[in-house]
């Protein structure tokens, strides 16, 4: 197999005196869905933010598509093919749905291609087309999540980083969002998915990493983790058998 699309090695990051990540390593291969699961405060979002440069790595390397990202400013990362849909569906609430999508293509200069992509994502998320002239903030939580994902895809990334896409959504909407992730992956998109909803994440992912207080404690194929007693007890809310 060729070199992984994303390779994180011995990554340490934090905020001020607090070290949030104590040297973690992980890989995402092209075409894979990889998930990072863990409790609140384990360092999941920090991992994503350190990968895309919003939080600076203090030690270790992040190699994406053959390039070292640790010195690349956050706003340049998207040009290299890495798009993040941030935690809490950080859509632009007072821009319309259409303007949000156009913002996602900010780094692109091919107007015709952007237009075609907007049409493509309207077809994938019909509700967005219906609401294209409404401000993003008036959409429901699930619609906002769809918008956030579509907006991230507008930059035509090689790897999509999703931070807690299920956060605050009703269960049937969560199922819908994970169906979308699976569908995107079938079309060839590689995904790094950070989730507290471990069961849903492991069901959709190929491989998983378990993050505990800034360290990776388990990693394996997703279905193995899903059946591991310790994982079941700690993250899936079941008694060990």
């Amino acid at each position: 197999m060729s070199a992984p699309l994303l390779q994180v090695q011995d990554l340490e990051a934090g905020y001020g005196a607090i070290v949030a990540l104590h040297g973690i390593s992980l890989t995402v291969n092209a075409g894979e869905i990889v998930t990072i699961i863990g409790a609140n405060g384990a360092g999941k979002s920090t991992t994503l933010n350190a990968v895309c440069g919003v939080v600076r790595a203090r030690r270790g390397t992040v190699t994406f598509d053959g390039r070292d990202l640790t010195r690349v400013p956050a706003h340049e990362v998207v040009r290299l093919g890495l798009a993040q849909s941030p935690e809490g569906r950080k859509i632009f609430p007072r821009l319309t749905v259409l303007e949000n999508l156009e913002m996602g293509a900010f780094t692109r200069r091919d107007a015709a291609g952007v237009k075609a992509d907007i049409a493509k994502y309207y077809a994938m998320f019909p509700i967005l087309e219906k609401r294209k002239h409404q401000p993003g903030g008036l959409l429901s939580g699930g619609e906002q999540q769809m918008l956030a994902i579509a907006r991230a895809l507008m930059s035509r990334p090689k790897l999509l980083l999703l931070d807690e896409p299920s956060l605050g959504l009703a269960p049937q909407i969560v199922v819908q969002i994970f169906d979308i992730i699976r569908e995107l992956n079938k079309q060839g998109m590689s995904v790094l998915l950070v989730e507290q909803n471990a069961r849903m994440a492991l069901k959709v992912a190929h491989r998983g990493y378990v993050l505990e207080t800034g360290r990776i404690t388990f990693t394996d194929k997703a279905d193995v983790l899903l059946n591991d007693d310790r994982i079941r007890a700690a993250y899936l809310g079941e008694e060990g058998h």
């Binding site: 706003h75 340049e76 798009a83 809490g88 821009l95 913002m103 401000p135 930059s155």
Partner: protein, 365 residues
């Protein structure tokens, strides 16, 4: 949008262009209007920084002053440069923009509070520099006379008060209505320019940045550079306003004209009119500065004539001016925080209830 909402700005400009031709027009009133247009330019400049990019700028008067003194230095006989006003105005825009970049660039990676403090401090430093650099600025006397203007055939030293409309247009050509039209046209031009800027890629990027800096960064927007662009455009336009101010007065005047009070009043004009809303800022400035420069004097004279109250400051509207400003601002903040003519996006921002703001991913302020 109603017809009134759509057409009042062109209507206002048409009315202002027609004013000098009306029988009720007075030369002195026209000159007062000219100064109002200059302040409207300054408020529009400030609105780029505060309204578009969401940065609290507390020292816009410094760039107004830098523009005025650049024109002064390049045109008055005191210096050897003797450029035409057009060259000097262009230089004023460039110098102000560059100084704006140099003064604020180091703060743009920090939190917003630092930007407000640095602009406040820069405004104070600039004022003291202007006042005390006698060898360059002539201190409190100011630099004068400012260039004879870009067009030929201008007569100087005309007693304006003796003239009425219809008399000797050639003689009046220099100040009123000539400058009136020049500055009103510049104001109209800047309004159009800013409208295009709002609709441009840059304008859209400023909105995204104001809404959510993290998400904007993830979309590939460079926050520091976008803020710097707003600061440079704002400072450059403020420099242009300063250039016209010096031209309209024919002198850079007393340095007091560029002090912190002016910066604050400009912030008030922007907030009164509607943060980020171009026509609103124009209206807010015309109302607030019109009250300040024109209406208070009229009211004072009227009160004296009708009631003969004696000369004490408390008997004049001008004595109560700042209290009236303050009260208006407090009333606005309580009942209409989005300003007289709210910019649609800002209005939503201010009227949203807290839980909606959280729900839509609003970042803490």
């Amino acid at each position: 949008m109603t017809a009134v909402g759509r057409y009042w700005v062109p209507g206002l400009f048409a009315a202002l262009f027609a004013y000098p031709f009306l029988p009720v027009a007075e030369a002195n009133r026209g000159e007062q209007f000219t100064i109002l247009f200059v302040y409207a330019l300054l408020a529009l400049a400030l609105n780029v920084v505060i309204g578009y990019a969401g940065l609290l700028h507390l020292g816009i008067a410094a760039f107004f002053g830098i523009g005025a003194y650049t024109v002064g230095i390049l045109t008055v006989p005191f210096f050897p440069f003797q450029q035409s006003f057009l060259v000097a105005a262009l230089a004023a825009v460039l110098v102000s923009a560059l100084v704006g970049i140099a003064a604020t660039a180091p703060t743009l990676r920090l939190r917003g509070d630092y930007f407000a403090l640095v602009t406040l401090g820069f405004g104070l430093i600039t004022l003291y520099a202007i006042r005390n650099l006698d060898a360059i600025t002539e201190g409190t006397k100011g630099l004068n006379p400012i260039a004879a203007g870009p067009l030929p055939g201008v007569k100087e030293n005309v007693d304006l008060s003796a003239l009425k409309v219809g008399d000797d247009w050639g003689a009046r050509w220099y100040k009123y209505p000539y400058l009136y039209f020049v500055i009103l046209s510049a104001l109209g031009g800047v309004m159009l320019l800013l409208r295009n800027l709002e609709r441009s890629r840059l304008g859209r990027a400023w909105v995204a940045l104001r809404e959510d800096e993290l998400a904007a960064t993830c979309m590939g927007l460079n926050p520091a550079r976008l803020k710097l662009a707003a600061v440079a455009v704002g400072a450059g336009l403020a420099g242009l306003a300063g250039a016209f101010y010096a031209l309209a007065l024919r002198t850079t005047g007393n340095p007091q004209a560029y002090d912190f009070t002016l910066s604050m009043i400009m912030v008030c004009c922007v907030i009164l009119g509607g943060l980020g809303n171009r026509p609103g800022v124009l209206l807010g400035t015309l109302l607030l500065m019109g009250f300040d420069r024109i209406a208070t004097n009229l009211l004072d004279n009227w009160l004296q004539e009708e009631f003969d109250l004696g000369g004490g400051a408390y008997t004049k509207v001008s004595g109560w001016k700042l209290i009236i400003f303050g009260t208006v601002l407090i009333v606005m903040m309580r009942f209409r925080p989005e300003g007289l003519l709210p910019e649609a996006r800002h209005a939503r921002e201010l009227r949203e209830s807290d839980d909606q703001a959280v729900d839509s991913g609003q970042k803490e302020k």
